[in-house]
């Protein structure tokens, strides 16, 4: 009996430690980012840093304004959402409510595959097909642009949106739909006036998850967006918050203002992600309370 108790305690202890490792990582990363992100902001000035329109970190007279990156990340993500959410949402409604089992199986498998493709492959395909295509179709000098990044991101967030939306649409009680049919509503009316509203928090969570994925993506956008610190414009090369950090980190010297400013950019990105997560938790919690 006693022995058993000790064994139980040990197992509990191990689980607790394992759990603490995760929490510890989050805490450490947060603290580290704050400590290393603040000095540059202090030196440059918060307003100059966040709203400065010029980034010229290696110029004789360096400028550290990250407004171009912030806006690019916001525009890029919004663009991806505007394109990706309708496609993902209608796909989810189709798969959950209309498609027969066989079609659903095939399509769900391909959605899962899409989720598993490494982002460098998205970048590669975007670089080789999308970028030249944009150059030809829109007759711009360089196809590597915000538009290319938006399209790649829109495709990358599709699996998230589809999978989470399907889960919440599947969870809508059949009784609601039966009641709607019994009142003489057609299937389309039933899906959009009963099923979708009943699943709306789950669908909102899907969208937020998509936002999180899009704003945090670095590799693919680096390869298709041209990576130049311009103010965002659809057909210009742009640089995202993520790529701003990754592209200069390699050659910035430790302790320099340039490197510290990169940490500050990471901190800004981190705050964005935290806000998105908080929004996500809000929706999920509301879903659970129902």
């Amino acid at each position: 009996m006693k022995k058993n108790k000790i064994f139980e305690d040990i197992v509990h202890g191990i689980f607790l430690i394992l759990g603490l490792i995760t929490v510890g990582c989050v805490v450490l990363i947060t603290i580290y980012l704050i400590i290393s992100g603040l000095p540059a902001i202090k030196e440059i000035g918060l307003i100059n840093f966040l709203f400065g329109k010029q980034w010229a970190s290696t110029a004789a007279e360096p400028k550290f304004g990250i407004l171009p990156f912030i806006l690019t990340s916001i525009y890029g993500t919004s663009g991806a959402i505007v394109i990706g959410v309708p496609i993902g949402f209608f796909t989810a409604v189709y798969l959950s409510k209309v498609a027969n089992k066989k079609v659903r199986n095939i399509m769900e498998t391909s959605v899962n595959l899409l989720a598993g493709i490494p982002s460098v492959v998205y970048g590669l395909v975007g670089m080789l097909i999308l970028v030249p295509a944009i150059r030809k179709i829109f007759k711009v000098p360089d196809g590597a642009s915000l538009l290319a990044a938006i399209i790649v991101l829109a495709i990358m967030i599709l699996p998230n949106i589809i999978k989470v939306s399907i889960t919440s649409l599947d969870a809508v009680p059949k009784e609601y739909e039966d009641a709607s049919y019994a009142l003489g509503a057609s299937s389309t009316e039933t899906f959009f006036r009963v099923s979708v509203p009943a699943a709306k928090s789950g669908i909102a969570a899907a969208v937020v998850l998509g936002v999180g994925r899009a704003i945090g993506e670095a590799m693919a956008v680096m390869m298709v967006a041209g990576n130049v610190a311009n103010m965002p414009s659809l057909f210009q090369s742009v640089r995202f918050l993520t790529t701003a950090v990754s592209s200069e980190m390699a050659y910035s010297s430790p302790g320099s203002l340039q490197r510290n400013a990169l940490f500050s950019i990471a901190l800004v990105l981190y705050i964005f992600i935290m806000l998105i997560n908080a929004t996500l938790n809000f929706f999920l919690k509301r879903d659970k309370e129902k």
Binding site: Y176, D178, A179, S180, L183, A185, A198
Partner: protein, 251 residues
């Protein structure tokens, strides 16, 4: 009294399993018909053939005919949505939509194209009054229907069914999930409704069938064993199996 629904040699299969065998019955209008029988006898299945809710189950196959107002509802040119508007349904478990009380009742009329606010208000009030729940909810029409008690939710579901002005209301054990007081309120309501509507109700509860119905149909293993006036059937059943069932010898 004329018959509003008649079925002739109606057979239904779930896959290879025959659930209804040659059901032939005439249901008089503006009356209450109770469908009774032990679990799995086909009474709920039969009820659902009357507004084609079985169509939603892919493996179901149906033969024979069901006529509503002398028109076979299994003909190809039938508008199912129109049929379901005229033959409404109330389910076993109260299933209001997760929206406001008002929107629940207005759902049907809106589906059928009524958008005028004043007209909708009028329909909603009338339906809620007919379902004997107006006084309880008139001050909270904009509140969620899920905040109502089970019995209130079921009366709301009846109101929702009435709002599209059906001629027939099918009820699938509407009181089986409710307490005795709510049950008795719903039974009173059903008896009032037969002035305007034809009611067909599936029930497990034989006392309920005796209390409220004018006609009773007794089902057993997919067969319709006996159909007739409730008083006569319960006092003097023609078939031995009916007698055994209503006297509680099995079921």
């Amino acid at each position: 009294m004329s018959n509003i629904i008649t079925s002739k040699d109606l057979c239904l299969w779930y896959g290879d399993n025959q659930a209804l065998k040659n059901i032939t019955v005439d249901i008089p209008e503006k009356s209450i018909t109770a469908l009774i029988g032990p679990s799995g006898c086909g009474k709920s299945t039969f009820l659902k053939t009357l507004n084609r809710m079985n169509d939603l189950i892919p493996i179901v196959r149906i033969e024979g005919e069901v006529c509503y107002e002398n028109k076979n509802i299994y003909d190809k040119d039938i508008d199912i949505n129109e049929l379901r508007r005229e033959v409404g349904m109330v389910f076993q478990k109260p299933n209001p939509f997760p929206m406001s009380i008002y929107d629940n009742v207005a759902y049907g009329p809106r589906t059928h194209g009524i958008t005028n606010k004043a007209k909708l208000d009028e329909i909603v009030e009338k339906a809620l009054r007919d379902a004997a729940i107006w006084d309880e909810v008139k001050d909270r029409l904009r509140k969620s229907a899920l905040g109502l008690s089970g019995g209130q939710q079921q009366r709301l579901c009846i109101a929702r069914a009435l709002a599209v002005e059906p001629k027939v209301v099918l009820m699938d054990e509407p009181t089986s999930a409710l307490d005795p007081i709510s049950t008795s309120r719903i039974e009173d309501l059903i008896m009032q409704l037969k002035e305007k509507y034809t009611i067909i109700i599936v029930t497990h509860n034989m006392q309920q069938a005796v209390r409220i119905s004018d006609y009773t149909a007794f089902f057993l293993l997919g067969d319709l064993i006996e159909f007739g006036e409730t008083d006569k059937m319960f006092s003097n059943p023609k078939d031995k199996r009916t007698e055994d069932y209503i006297t509680g010898r099995f079921g």
